[in-house]
């Protein structure tokens, strides 16, 4: 029957496959894999790899991109079977899970032979914190630092006759301008949606409250300052100039902003290059500025912005640890961090390597007030995190959603959020 020639074909293919499977490297170089989740940063990562391999021709590094949705499943599966990539990005969402379990290589003493106190000299406390485990040791070389800025539409401000937001803006200015713009143009003001990092966290810390206490063992939702800030933030949706959450559940503020439907929203600086290149029709119509400060904070000067940062990590029991650590060491040098900044996707963590980031925008012809980002690092707050966060993240969101859709009042919701976080944290710490 026809099956016989088909079977030989299958057998031949099998043979072909098996030969492909063993396709290793016969060129004597050490081949390393470097895994990331952002295809937009592939070029910058390849650039720092090239800079390293130029000085070390016996090493070849391959940058591999996995989409964010699958990245962590893949990494965890690899961790369980000790087949992790040689180098990979680590995110604050996950670093405590990996570090506390001993999955990541300790890089605290990486630079001791060249410069003791290297990290303290060249990276901010927040950057170091974002790359550390619960034991205070470092488990990644800091890669970048970011913070949240206020993005606004200049044309809408002009149309309403409202002066552009500046460093002196307070929450009151924010709401007043929103109302004026809405009255004059029918466009939305500040789009306050149900979101933590790009939303209420900033306001809470501006008011002198906190989401987690200093020692990260308890939540801060029971503090009056926190409550006032949450009340203010959620209350914004009650105004005409801010759509309600059912709108935002289907339309992100960023999308609304760049469709010229709303005039202001909060964005992370990591998105600015992407937005600039994606919306050339909007170039010159928008700019960024400082987050408005709280006019009557319980403590502090009313200024705060959330700052996060990624780091470069490797497995604690990797196969080519020595070579990899050498690469990581290079990634943390001023040279590498300058190269990475120059692609405009992220500001490298190394203090003093911000200029190439600004230059990238200038070269591309995007005129934004990027100095704001650098200035805000002075009062930035480390992104909220503790080892139990994966456990309380979703339940807290579910609870807060009830406040947004009127199922429950804010005080009850905040009480519940407090309980959720406290219980999850206590459980995690007792393990």
């Amino acid at each position: 029957m026809k099956r016989i020639p088909r079977m030989t074909a299958a057998a031949l293919m099998l043979a072909l496959l098996l030969s492909l499977a063993g396709c290793g490297s016969a060129d004597g170089k050490t081949h390393l894999t470097f895994q990331i989740w952002d295809v937009a940063q592939r070029a910058s990562m390849e650039a720092i790899c090239d800079a390293y391999t130029a000085q070390h021709p016996d090493v070849a590094i391959e940058v591999q991109v996995t989409s964010w949705d699958e990245y962590w499943t893949k990494l965890e599966a690899a961790a369980e079977s000790n087949t992790m990539p040689d180098i990979f990005w680590m995110h604050t969402n996950q670093i405590l899970y990996y570090a506390d379990f001993g999955m990541l290589a300790d890089v605290t003493d990486l630079y001791d032979d060249v410069e003791p106190g290297y990290y303290q000299n060249h990276f901010s406390e927040i950057s170091i914190g974002n790359a550390s485990g619960s034991d205070g040791r470092m488990y990644g070389v800091p890669k970048d630092k970011d913070n949240i800025v206020l993005v606004y539409n200049k044309e809408m401000f002009d149309a309403a006759g409202v002066p552009y937001p500046d460093a002196d803006w307070t929450w009151d200015d924010l709401t007043e301008a929103s109302q004026k713009i809405y009255d004059a143009t029918g466009k939305y003001g500040y789009m306050a949606y149900n979101e933590d990092h790009l939303g209420y966290w900033n306001f809470v810390y501006q008011a002198g409250g906190c989401i987690l206490t200093e020692d990260k063992t308890r939540a801060g939702f029971d503090q009056p300052a926190t409550r006032r800030a949450m009340d203010f933030y959620l209350g914004m949706q009650k105004n005409d100039w801010c759509p309600d959450q059912t709108y935002f559940a289907e339309t992100q503020p960023g999308v609304a902003f760049f469709s010229e439907i709303g005039s202001m929203y909060l964005e992370g600086n990591w998105e600015l290059m992407n937005k600039s290149t994606s919306y050339p029709n909007m170039t010159g119509k928008w700019d960024i500025t400082y987050l408005p400060k709280c006019p009557d904070p319980a403590s502090g000067d009313g200024r705060a912005t959330m700052s996060n940062g990624l780091c470069y990590s490797t497995a604690a029991h990797g196969k080519r640890l020595d070579t990899v650590l050498d690469v990581l060491k290079f990634f943390g040098t001023e040279e590498a961090q300058n190269i990475a900044s120059s692609y405009g996707a992220a500001i490298s963590a190394y203090i003093g390597t911000e200029q190439p980031y600004f230059d990238a925008f200038e070269k591309a012809g995007y005129d934004l007030n990027l100095q704001v980002i650098e200035d805000q690092f002075d009062y930035s707050v480390q992104c909220v995190n503790n080892s139990a966060r994966p456990k309380w993240k979703s339940p807290v969101l579910d609870e807060l959603t009830k406040a947004y859709n009127g199922q429950s009042d804010l005080d009850t919701v905040l009480d519940n959020m407090q309980t959720i976080v406290d219980e999850a944290t206590a459980a995690a710490l007792s393990k």
Binding site: L17, D38, T66, S67, E70, K74, I261
Partner: protein, 280 residues
């Protein structure tokens, strides 16, 4: 008995309704495909515009250019083709044998073993990812075509579906073959299996589409984008926060092409029914 006039009328009505529903259905089905074409020809701002626009202001091919630059389509096509071919061969081979056995043969433990098939069908595929990854990694076969094929080496649904098909073939067919001197294997191979052509074709399409659409497994088990399938390769274009939709749509259109061609070839298998079943 109806008159010939009303006969023609009801025949015409049937024809009308058939075409009506077919065209209506086709319009509903084709909608996203049309949307994909339109989006892939737009610029990013146009594609994200709210309220959404339908036709692009200016049709552009830039997205196709960009996606061809971003992904190694040659490798993706090759990997996907190989993976699909192997999975289909395995599915047809093993599921036909098992489906026939479950339908027509008597052996101890039959119901228990068929229960295993049913249980597998009830399981959500997410519980397989980490264990199967570890198996592949232990074999040292991560990042290979074999890894892509691995979860599809056997097909529980294939067994179930073909069992139904074999059960509808009258027992007399098998008995006739036996009288002709065939043993069990020959009955299956020479007589029964050839009768399942249309079902096998359907299973082929089903298996192929299912394998083609899986984007989680290839990304987890293979790291090199050159070893991904089309769906997985496209998924890597998805950003953490924002995705360039026009480019993704362009890539998806390019990825769909082989599947559509495969279907056009295979659906010819659904020719007018098998005349008679050997009862002659």
């Amino acid at each position: 008995m109806k008159s010939t006039n009303s006969l023609h009328r009801s025949y015409a009505m049937a024809k009308f309704f058939t075409y009506f529903f077919l065209i209506l259905g086709a319009l509903i089905m084709i909608f996203p495909f049309v949307w994909m074409i339109l989006t892939s020809s737009k610029t990013v701002p146009e594609s994200m515009q709210i309220p959404p626009t339908i036709l692009p202001e200016q049709w552009t091919l830039a997205n196709f250019r960009d996606v061809l630059k971003s992904l190694p389509f040659g490798h993706l096509y090759w990997n996907t083709t190989l993976m699909v071919i192997f999975r289909v061969i395995c599915a047809i081979l093993f599921s036909s044998m098992a489906g026939y056995a479950f339908a027509k043969l008597k052996f101890r433990g039959k119901n228990l073993l068929f229960g295993i098939v049913l249980v597998q069908m009830s399981l959500p595929s997410q519980i397989f990812i980490i264990p199967q990854y570890q198996m592949v990694a232990k074999m040292g076969m991560a990042n290979t075509i074999f890894a892509l094929v691995f979860p599809g080496l056997v097909s529980a649904f294939g067994v179930f579906f073909l069992r139904q098909t074999y059960m509808s073939i009258p027992d007399e067919v098998g008995e006739a073959a036996y009288l002709d001197g065939c043993n069990q294997w020959q009955t299956f191979y020479k007589v029964m299996f050839p009768l399942t052509g249309t079902s096998v074709a359907a299973l082929t399409i089903f298996t192929a589409v299912f394998a083609y659409g899986d984007l989680m497994w290839p990304q987890v088990v293979n790291s090199d984008v050159k070893m991904m399938t089309l769906s997985a390769g496209l998924a890597t274009l998805k950003g953490q926060f924002a995705t360039n939709f026009p480019v993704m749509m362009a890539g998806s259109l390019l990825a769909m092409l082989p599947m559509v061609i495969l279907y056009l070839i295979f659906q010819r298998q659904f020719v007018e029914g098998i005349a008679g079943t050997g009862g002659k």
